[in-house]
């Protein structure tokens, strides 16, 4: 009897192993057979309770592709069971980096990890944020939906801007009918001076085609996206918007263009977002994210820093610290002087958005 049972179990095991093999051979969401195999193995190990081995597999997968959020979620779950708080913290930070909409799900875990790591102030701030998510009934599911609709709207705005910045001339105009005419040529060169001019192509292309968003040079689209990113409308989507007073910065020897200091602000008012500790450490970026090349002869001096006591509007895209500092929206753009004009602008936008 026992032998029959063992035989049945063996057969079942064999068939499931085969099924697993074929499953792990699929490319899956990871986009790679090898990665899917590693990931499937990690999940299986996790299910079997072999958390340490599962953690190793998740880390292996992360080493191959550090931008796949599910690897970090797997690592997080296995690390929580092992009470491996530094791995929990690492996993959550990356989950938020890749998909901030997961914040309602994992901010408590992050707070707990920070508590166990002895980072009490950061833990407290995160746990309070987690409470506001519950109070306001904010779920990851809702945020994912909102993010999708925002994305769609942004895409719509960009498409509209592309269509309206230089409206398509009417086809009846004689100058457009003949692209080789001086007027037509000038408009083409205005669009993209850097693009190589191919007279043959120009002759074949109608002006309407040139102005069509899908056919416009990539650089123009990028410019418009960048312009949009560095606007108050885009900055308004930051998780936290604060009115804060600049207090000073950490004076270290290795302050560089791409290695900014930690600056200290004191929150005077929360314009938007969860409550944060009044003392606000900020990564004081000197540039926008795209401008990583330092201007010639750039050198840090304390004159670059704001006047202590001055008031600033601080936009924080994700209200989570990295290396003990909050990162501002779009680097240096996320710090705006709190003058009347800027304050009026931001209050107006906040009012409008809350009305919606």
């Amino acid at each position: 009897m026992i032998y029959i049972l063992l035989l049945i179990l063996f057969c079942l095991n064999l068939s499931s192993a085969k099924a697993d093999q074929s499953q792990s051979d699929a490319v899956g969401e990871t986009g790679s057979i090898t990665l899917t195999r590693i990931y499937t193995k990690a999940l299986e190990l996790s299910k079997l309770g072999q958390k340490s081995a599962a953690i190793l597999q998740f880390k292996k997968a992360i080493a191959v592709n550090p931008d796949f959020v599910d690897f970090y979620i797997g690592l997080l779950n296995a690390s929580i069971d092992q009470k491996n708080w530094s791995d929990v913290s690492y996993a959550v930070q990356n989950i938020f980096r890749l998909d901030p909409a997961y914040k309602p799900d994992y901010t408590i875990d992050y707070g707990e990890a920070l508590y166990h790591l002895g980072k009490y102030d950061e833990a407290e701030a995160n746990l309070k944020t987690a409470l506001t998510y519950i109070d306001k009934n904010i779920t990851s599911e809702k945020l994912h939906k909102e993010a999708q609709s925002k994305k769609d709207k942004e895409q719509e705005v960009i498409t509209k801007k592309l269509e309206t910045t230089t409206p398509p001339p009417s086809s009846s105009s004689p100058s457009q009918a003949n692209p080789s005419s001086p007027q037509a040529n000038s408009s083409v060169t205005n669009l993209d001076k850097s693009a190589p001019v191919n007279s043959e192509n120009q002759a074949q292309e109608t002006p309407k085609d040139i102005y069509h968003p899908a056919k416009r040079p990539d650089q123009d689209a990028k410019k418009i996206v960048e312009q949009y990113r560095q606007s108050y409308e885009a900055a308004l989507k930051s998780e936290s918007i604060l009115l804060a007073q600049y207090e000073g910065y950490d004076k270290t020897d290795d302050i560089r263009y791409n290695h900014p200091p930690k600056a200290y602000y004191h929150i005077k008012k929360v314009l938007k977002g969860p409550p944060l500790n009044a003392s606000l450490p900020i990564r004081y970026d000197f540039h926008l994210p795209k401008d990583t090349q330092a201007p010639p002869n750039w050198k840090f001096s304390s004159d670059i820093m704001p006047k202590p006591g001055s008031l600033w509007i601080i936009f924080i895209e994700n209200a989570l610290t990295k290396h003990g500092m909050y990162e501002t929206f779009e680097g240096s753009y996320g710090r705006q002087e709190a003058n009347d004009e800027n304050l009026n602008k931001i209050y107006d936008l906040i009012d409008k958005s809350s009305g919606q």
Binding site: G111, Y115, Y120, A123, L127, K128, A130, L131, I134
Partner: protein, 170 residues
């Protein structure tokens, strides 16, 4: 063991009732409890007493009739000198877990140090009933104190009676 299961069931039941009354999903309630528990630990570690007390009170509201929590809060209050309130929470802890001899004995010792010997005897008697003879020495000393206090009271009453009868004779 049976008692423990019944007691666990009661806790889960009471949690689900409060939960339903608050109109909140169970997972949200659990999340709140977890968050406030962590905040409490943070404030205790940072010695922020005012915030810690607020967190204890929030947790007691979120999970009423939780004997371990009542007991921990009572210990905390006693540590910071709030004896009267701590006794109330030790009593509540024992009421919520009437099969826990340690809770009864702790209540007995606090009452003993507060010189409430009748209360101490009653609590230690409960501890002995549940936990056996390991609390007998404490019960005996409480009984001795109770007896000596009673004897002193009786002597004082007799002296007072004697004095009043002498006064009336004169």
């Amino acid at each position: 063991m049976k008692n423990k299961i019944v007691y666990l069931f009661l806790i889960v039941f009471s949690l689900s009732v409060t939960n339903a009354s608050a109109g909140e999903s169970e997972s949200d309630l659990n999340k709140r409890v977890r968050i406030h528990d962590l905040l409490l630990k943070i404030y205790l570690a940072k010695h922020q007493n005012k915030q810690a007390v607020a967190e204890y009170q929030t947790l007691l509201k979120l999970s009423p009739n939780n004997p371990a929590l009542e007991y921990a809060y009572a210990n905390y209050l006693y540590k910071y000198g709030n004896v009267k309130e701590s006794i109330a929470h030790y009593r509540k802890a024992f009421e919520c877990a009437p099969d826990n001899a340690d809770y009864a004995a702790k209540l007995g010792s606090i009452l003993f140090y507060a010189k409430d010997y009748d209360g101490a005897v009653s609590a230690y008697t409960n501890a002995c009933r549940i936990g056996g003879s390991r609390f007998q020495p404490q019960l005996n000393s409480a009984l001795q104190y109770q007896a000596s206090i009673r004897a002193a009271k009786n002597a004082a009453a007799a002296a007072a009676a004697r004095k009043s009868s002498d006064d009336s004779d004169n």
